[in-house]
Symmetry: C2
Subunit: 171 residues, 2 copies
DNA sequence: CTGTGTGCAAAGCATTTGCACTATG
DNA sequence: CATAGTGCAAATGCTTTGCACACAG
């Protein structure tokens, strides 16, 4: 849990268009995401709120996440395991990263290499795709899928069934 | 439905390790995917089988898709709408493409531009990630998310709720 | 023949929705 | 105060499982 301050100013502004009241529940859900680099599911967040003595219903968490997503403060990530996860969108350049996911245990790693090359390619691709297909492009997603050291053949976890739920869910 | 011949030879070989018997049902599910460039959900395939007078249960389709996925003949795609879709993996270079998805209606487009640049970047990234994190990388996924001409602000479909189920599911 | 594959019905789960209640602005 | 936000419980919809039967090898 490396703490980082929430960024209420510009973030809350972005929210103004999407909700009328900024409540404690919303603040807490938001805080949980701001304070981590992990990719959390609604349930993960629910657990963390409970651990922090906040008694927020799962429903509210889903609704808040939807809100934050629409406001663009948060990004949905479809991990391979059926549930949707969310990560806080930090300021563009500082936080630009892509994902490396293990199809064995569901672990998600962020990596930040190749920013320069990627950004260039991404920018050019966006241009062409936007023009060619008439799309309004708002985001991109680059991920590599494979087996982590634990799950790869010869790894400690290989052949055997993957871990339990909350285990390899993160980063 | 632009027809392309199934590739029984190498494909069936890949299957030998993953199933004991090659049945009619499996062939049909496989055929449906081979014959299209679209990204189909289990239900989509179910419908197509019914349309083709095959009476294959949804359960079998799910099981077959899982089989084909494990055999590497098919690729899972997590479209934003909650259901998982599948596409046939054609031979590597001939078929290399990435996705452009509309977050409004769920449409998925394949595009094949920038192959050269992308492949280069991808290869280099795979190398580094594999070495740095000990992963065994097996696949990558590059997608751009935005709004299609219909769904973008000013488009015919904008503001209004997206289309019905089978509408924007494809390509 | 002998398991492997299949279908049906029921179970599982993440997510969504209806509705009465609470608290923000 | 009026309305947006919340929680609960029930509903939804995709996917998985248990079990008895059917068929490929």
């Amino acid at each position: 849990m490396a703490a980082k301050r929430p960024r209420p100013h510009q973030d809350k502004e972005a929210l103004k268009d999407h909700c009328a009241r900024w409540t404690g529940a919303r603040q807490e859900v938001f805080d949980v995401l701001v304070k981590t680099e992990q990719h959390l599911s609604a349930q993960d967040i629910h657990h963390q709120c409970q651990a922090a003595n906040s008694d927020i219903g799962l429903t509210t968490i889903y609704r808040t996440l939807d809100l934050l997503d629409k406001a663009g403060l948060v990004r949905k990530v479809h991990s391979g395991d059926g549930r949707v996860r969310f990560e806080y969108r930090r300021s563009a350049h500082a936080d630009h990263h892509h994902h490396l996911m293990c199809s064995g245990c569901g672990q998600i790693l962020n990596y930040r290499d190749f920013e320069q090359e990627e950004l260039e390619l991404v920018r050019r691709t966006e241009d062409v795709l936007a023009r060619k297909h008439g799309y309004l492009i708002r985001d991109h997603n680059i991920e590599f899928i494979g087996l982590c050291p634990e799950c790869r053949p010869g790894g400690r976890r290989s052949v055997i069934a993957p871990e339990g739920p909350d285990a390899g869910t993160n980063t």
